[in-house]
Each structure stands twice: as C-alpha cells, then as structure tokens.
C-alpha cells in the first residue's frame, strides 16, 4: 500500500488510542479514589506527567495543580498536543486523509466524535456529568477499534492500524506504571488505604481490575500488580501482550512486501521482545522498575521512529531499491 497512507492508518489508531486512554485515565482519577483525602497536587500532577506535558503545563499554569485546571488542560486545551480534543482531531484528520482506505463505519465514528466534541452536546455533558463524558469517549474508542476489526479487510491497512494501536498501548501502560512506581512498597501486601486506592486506580486505568481479580486472590502485593501489567499474556493492555500483538502485525505487514523494508524495525522489536521475555517471572519494584519502564518507553519510541523511517518516509530507500534493480538487470 501507499507508504503515506500506511502512515495514516498507523497514526489514526494511535491518536484514537491516545484519546480513549486519556479519557479512561481522567475518569479513573476523578471517580475511583473516593474517600481518600489526597491533595490535588498528588492526585492530578501524575496525569500531567503521563501525558509528557509537565514543562508546557508549567509554562501556562505555573504551580496551579487544581483538578479543574488539569482536566480542562488534558481534555480541551488546543495548546496541548496530547489533549483529548487534539488527539481526536488528528485521528479524524488522518482518517479523512485516508478515507479511500478506512471503512466508512470507522470514519463516521471518528467524525461524529469530533463533531460532538466541537459542538454543544460534548461541552454540556462535560459540565453536567463528567464521568459519563469520559466514558462516552472511551466507548467511542472501543467502538472504533472494534469497527476496525469488524469492517476492514484483513489486509495490510488493518495490520498497520493494529501495529499503531498496540505500540501506543504498550507505551501508555509503561508510562502509567512509571508514574506510580514510587508508591509501590518493595515487599509485602499493599494495605495502606491511599496506596491501595492508587493501585486500584492504576489497574482500572489499564482496564485490568476485573482481570486482576480473576487471577490474584486476597490483598495484592506490588510484585503481583507489576508482573500482571507487564507480563500477563492474556491481558489486552499488558506490555508483553501489546508487543506480541505488534509483532504479529509487523510480520503480517512484511509478508506483503520486499525484504528490504522493515528489517530494522523487526530487529528492534525482536530485541525488545527478548528483553521482556528474559524478565518474565522476575517482577521488579523500586528504582529498578523505573529504569526498566524508562527503557521500555524509549525502546517503543525508537521502534515507532524506525517504522516511520522504513515504511512511511522511505524516499531514499525506494530510490535505492530501484537503482539496485536496474543495475542487477544490467548485469544479466
């Protein structure tokens, strides 16, 4: 498929995943830490960190970590490239650009979400029932990904969509954990109520509460939570699951074409997968966990950069391939 359009497919899913992830995170943070008297700073600051927006936020709002300001910034602010409204805008832009490739069902979903956010109803719901507002966005995200699987041909465009979706998700889970890592006690069960609330919020942010309860009984330990979110094969948002799903898509993508394109990306992903495999069963906490998560976040980001270079921005490589083909033809 056209390189640029493959990029659109990859990115439209990343943006939608990002918007839905941010909505999930904001909803959890608002609603699922009840009865816990946490100062706004500790409650809302981590979200700005997860979004990677610490610096810009500080520039605009200084030390103001008021919950309303943070929510407004992460939801509506056009200056924040990771705000929900910006993510949806770019998801829609990428979909619109690739409309001949994306199914009409997906287009209608992202288009109506965008118009909903742009016009009265979205804003009104934000003011009157914010839980419901965030839930709606999350559900539209789920609908969108479901529609991708249900209405697209099982071909290359869908493979790029999934690749984008899972790599974005892997990075998200790692970043979420990284924000919480310092609250994880190194040993023993988590029994402090504030810690427990934070942990349960972390699980919920990864849609992992119910799955976790099905696998782990009694009061959880930090290692169990970490291990579950990093390595649980069956959890759709665990880092390990996302990377394996990404590998599946990358293999599928490369099956369509020349060996030359995707070599570097495949090598990077394989290296990352073996790195993760080596650590399975050795759940880590504390600074070691922070280092591990930083490594994961950086590696996923490098991998995305390499995919960008090899598949989407490939002018040099393409000319090179042609030149090699013609010189090979000349030798025969």
């Amino acid at each position: 498929m056209i390189s640029r359009v493959a990029g659109n497919c990859f990115w439209l899913n990343r943006y939608m995943e990002r918007a839905a992830g941010m909505a999930r995170l904001l909803r959890v943070n608002r609603s699922f830490i009840p009865g816990v008297d946490l100062p706004d700073l500790h409650r809302w600051h981590p979200l700005v960190v997860v979004a990677g927006e610490e610096e810009r936020y500080k520039r605009h709002f200084g030390e103001d970590e008021n919950g309303e300001t943070v929510q407004e910034y992460l939801t509506w602010d056009r200056r924040n490239s990771t705000s929900i409204v910006e993510s949806v805008r770019w998801a829609r832009e990428n979909t619109r650009t690739a409309r001949e490739t994306v199914s009409s069902e997906m287009w209608e979903t992202v288009n109506s979400l965008w118009h909903w956010l742009q016009s009265g109803p979205g804003r009104r719901l934000y003011r009157s029932d914010r839980d419901h507002f965030y839930q709606h966005i999350r559900q539209m995200g789920e609908l969108f990904h479901g529609q991708a699987d249900e209405t697209m041909l099982n071909g290359e465009p869908l493979a790029f969509m999934r690749l984008g979706r899972y790599l974005e998700r892997a990075g998200q889970t790692a970043r979420l954990m990284d924000v919480h890592y310092h609250t994880f006690p190194e040993e023993g069960p988590i029994d402090d109520p504030i810690r427990l609330a934070q942990w349960s919020a972390l699980l919920r942010s990864c849609s992992a509460t119910e799955p976790f309860q099905k696998r782990v009984f009694g009061t959880p330990t930090a290692r169990e939570v970490v291990s579950f979110l990093l390595f649980e094969q069956d959890l759709p948002r665990s880092v390990s699951h996302c990377l394996r799903a990404a590998r599946h898509s990358l293999v599928q993508v490369r099956g369509y074409g020349s060996n030359r394109i995707g070599m570097v990306s495949t090598a990077l992903l394989e290296a990352l997968l073996s790195h993760v495999a080596l650590r399975e069963g050795h759940a880590i906490v504390g600074t070691e966990l922070h280092e591990e998560l930083t490594y994961l976040v950086d590696s996923v980001s490098d991998l995305c950069g390499s995919i960008e270079q090899e598949f989407f921005q490939s002018t040099e490589l393409q000319t090179q391939i042609l030149a090699e083909e013609s010189s090979a033809a000349a030798q025969q």
Binding site: I2, S3, R4, R96, V253, G257, I321
Partner: protein
C-alpha cells in the same frame, strides 16, 4: 452512510387541511421552469412526479430534508474545509426537489455533448500538432497563443490513444425558450461528480417510493466507466496497469471528491510526494517498495504538475513527470495543456471547430458571444453594458465578471475603463434568463435558477453520465450558481424513454 429510512407504509400524506408541497407554485414570468408551464400546471413528463411530491405535507418534507442533510454531514460529504482553524465544514446545500429531464430532450443533449467533446479533442490534437485550423484561418493565432492555456513545452506530444479530454464537464443552461445552450467547457479538472452520486444515494433513501415510480436512469456506473476509460488509455496491458488518483491533498476543497472517486474505483489516492520519477517512469512509494504507475487521474492544475517544467515553487507536483509523460510511459488524464481549449476566448470558435473537424452542424447551441478584442464588438458591448454579462477570459468560478443588470452606475463605469484598457482580456454575452426549478426555501417551494454540468468520459469511445450536477442559485433572483457564492445542488433525473 447511516440514515433513518422510513418504510413505505409510513409515508405520510399531508395532514388534513395542510397544503401540498407544490400547491400554488408560481413560475417566474418570461422564464422557463423545469417542472411547470407558465400557467402553473405541471409539464406532461413530470405530472406523476409532481403529484407524488404533492402528497407530502410541508412538515414531512422538512423532516426528510433534515434527514438528507444529516446523512450528508455525517458521511462527511462536505466542501469548503478549513475556512477557519476549527476545521468547520459545510455540506454543499442539497435541495430535495429533483430537476427532471425527459428522455427525448436528453437524447439531443447526449449526442450534442459527444459531438462537442469530439471536436474539442480534435482541436487539441491539431493545436499540439500540425495546427491546421490556424493555417486555414478558422481561428486567429492571437486567440490561441494569446491565452495562458497553451503550453508550448508540450508541442508535438500526443497522449495515449490521442485522447486529451478523458473527463469533460460541459456547463449547460436553458434559456427562456427551453433550449439548452452550452455556457462553458471544462476540460482540465472538472469537479462535482461525487455530489451527483452522493445526492442520488440520499434521494433513493429519503424518497424510496417516489424514486421507484419515476423510472430514473441510474448513475451508479460512473466510477466503473471512469475506471474503464482510464484503463483503456494505459501504456501497458490492463492486467499489469496501475491507476492512481492524484490530489493536491486534504486541504483542497474538492478532497472529498478525490477520495470518493479513488474509493469507488478501488484505486489508490496519492499526493505528489507519494510519487517519484526514475528513468522516465513514474513510481509510487509503497510499503513493499516502488511500484510503477501507468495512468494518473490527476486533479492538480497543469501549473503545479511538474516543478521542473512549470511552476518551480510547486510542492504539490512530481519533478520529472512531464518527461515521463513525453516518453509515453505514463498517461495523464486529462492531458496537460487542455486549458487552451476551454478558455473564454476560444469558446466563441467552438461551433466553427465542429464544422471544421466533423463537417457537421453543432447539435447544441451556445450563448451569443462578443469578442471584445474586435473593436466593433467591443463598442457594442460598451454601449450596452447594463444588459451584458462581461467575463474576464482567464476568470472562473463567477469571479472577475460584470453582471450588467445588477451592477450600479459606478460599477459599470469602472468596468468600462478596465474593458477599454484591456479589450483582449474580455468577452461579453447578453444575459440569458436561466431556467428555474422549484426549490425548497424557508418552508415552501419557490422558483430558483439552475444550470447543469453533465460529465463526458472518453476512452476508446465517449459516454455521458445520464444527468449531471444541477446547481441552483439559492438566493432569490440570483443567477450565480457557484458553490463558493451561495449555490446549492439538486439531484438530476433523466427519465427512461416512454416505451415500457
């Protein structure tokens, strides 16, 4: 496209006491109305339709109009994107009352269009070749070479199968006597066909019964026909040929259409940066490496096509593409250089072209035109400006023109100065009372002026899409149908012949 569709039995008849949709419709005096005679009775060929539509109460009709607009909006059938930073989009206003053309009238239009496009194509072939028509004095050299449309770089190049005009949009109007006249030829990148197809889809869903009973000729085959026409001019065998649609990009106001056509034809939509030229061949960058491209349905203007030959600053085009075209390795549709045949200075000579190349009389008339470059005609125009439409030969979209009857004294005298300064730059036409069609305005049907853009596809032979884009001037009394200036569109129904 998702849309609520009422089952047939739910079709409501107007509430008791509520008047029918078209009751009391009064056509304008001295103006041809597409559906009604001057005395307010429906024309024979549309009598059934008028009575069907008449069954709808106004409230019901309004509901359906809203359904249609909602469907177009949700589907993103929009234009005029990015008029502001919030990315506001509008739908091209769509009016649910169709414009109807009888089978016999259409037959004449169809053969007239094919005749005209054939002659224009021969004209282009001649101009970029022997220039016989100039040598034999049928058209002045100054008219041809004095305009921006002629690309001397392309002299001697012959496109595949000799077809310059693969896709034509010929604008027609209907005068007060009911005869169709050609107003303008569009031989470069005519747009609007996606609205024809989307409007039809919406009409079929909103008025399923009316539609079924009216025996309307289908338009759905357009994309397949376009694909066939493009494939037939590929330099390579169809089985190994790759067709792409080339767009300036998502910020272009017609991007929806470019994407629509690519989707309907099942081919790739590309931007200039997706293509590159290697060894005089055009390739598209794909995820599995470079793939050769054979036919490019390009929706980029000539000037931006190749920065090496034309506008150096163009970032939309593909460096080297003209060289590949000249080598016969790729087909560009439409061919570059067509602007010389569809500009307003050449328009007055088209009937002579038809006689010269085909030895036939033109089937379709066209609007009487004064060439201001000729002193006598210019004097006549200057003396009668208040009853003339004066157009800049290089203007389009209704811009750069004077509409005499609506202009103030100051505007007329200002325009007269411009005309005296640069007579070669203008042509003038008497005002034609464009025909009207009932149009839903503020809760009732009112007469509004319309034009028609049929589309003609040419590969090894020519084919005309039944109907075309009817544009309607939504403002009362307005003659300007352009979407950029308050125009809307209607579905155009060409009826099947009277035999069952």
């Amino acid at each position: 496209m998702l849309i609520f569709m009422p089952a047939d039995h739910e079709l409501t008849v107007g509430l008791a006491g509520e008047s029918g949709l078209l009751d009391g419709y009064a056509p304008l005096p001295r103006t041809y109305d597409e559906l009604f005679r001057g005395d307010g009775t429906p024309r024979d060929e549309v009598a059934d339709l008028v009575s069907e539509l008449g069954h709808f109460g106004r409230a019901e009709f309004m509901t359906r109009q809203k359904l249609a607009e909602g469907a177009l909006f949700r589907g993103g059938v929009t234009f005029s994107v990015y008029s502001d930073s919030r990315g506001q989009e509008k739908i091209f206003p769509f009016d649910l009352i169709p414009r109807v053309i009888s089978a016999s009238v259409w037959d004449t239009i169809e053969s007239g269009l094919i005749q005209r496009v054939t002659a224009l194509n021969m004209f282009l072939s001649d101009l970029y070749g022997d220039q016989r028509i100039i040598k034999e004095g049928k058209i002045p050299e100054s008219v041809v070479f004095g305009t921006a449309g002629y690309l001397k770089e392309l002299h001697g190049m012959r496109p595949a199968e000799g077809v310059f005009v693969n896709i034509a949009g010929i604008d027609l109007i209907r005068g007060s006597d009911g005869n169709f006249l050609v107003l303008e030829d569009n031989l470069r990148t005519p747009s609007g066909v996606s609205y024809v197809l989307e409007n039809r889809t919406v009409m079929q869903r909103v008025f399923p019964r009316v539609f079924r009973r009216s025996r309307v000729r289908p338009v759905e085959s357009y994309a397949a026909r376009l694909g066939d026409a493009l494939m037939s001019v590929s330099p390579r065998e169809p089985a190994e040929s790759r067709i792409v649609v080339l767009t300036p990009g998502p910020f272009n106001s017609a991007y929806f259409e470019h994407s629509f056509l690519a989707r309907q034809m099942g081919c790739d939509l590309v931007q200039g940066s997706d293509l590159f030229v290697h060894d005089k061949r055009v390739f598209v960058k794909t995820t599995s490496g470079p793939e050769q491209v054979d036919v490019i349905y390009r929706r980029i203007d000539d000037d931006f096509l190749d920065p090496r030959v034309f506008n150096e600053a163009s970032a939309l085009g593909v460096p080297g593409i003209i060289e590949a075209y000249a080598a016969g390795n790729v087909t560009l549709a439409n061919a570059p250089g067509n602007g010389v045949a569809d500009n307003k200075a050449v328009y007055p000579f088209v009937p002579d072209m038809i006689r010269f190349y085909l030895s036939e009389e033109p089937i379709l008339g066209q609007v009487e035109t004064y060439i201001c470059a000729r002193p006598k005609e210019c004097d006549h125009v200057l003396a009668n400006l208040q009853s003339m439409v004066v157009k800049a030969v290089d203007g389009s979209g209704g811009y750069g023109m004077l509409f005499g009857p609506r202009a103030s004294k100051e505007e007329i005298s200002e325009f007269a100065d411009k005309l005296r300064d640069d007579p070669e730059g203008y042509i003038a036409q008497p005002v034609v009372e464009l025909s009207t069609c009932p149009t839903w305005i503020d809760g009732e049907a009112a007469p509004r002026r319309v034009d028609l853009r049929p589309f003609v596809l040419t590969g090894k032979s020519s084919w005309v899409l039944p109907g075309g884009l009817t544009r309607v001037a939504l403002r009362a009394g307005s003659y300007v149908v352009n979407s950029s200036q308050g125009g809307g569109s209607k579905d155009t129904w060409v009826l099947e012949g009277s035999s069952p």
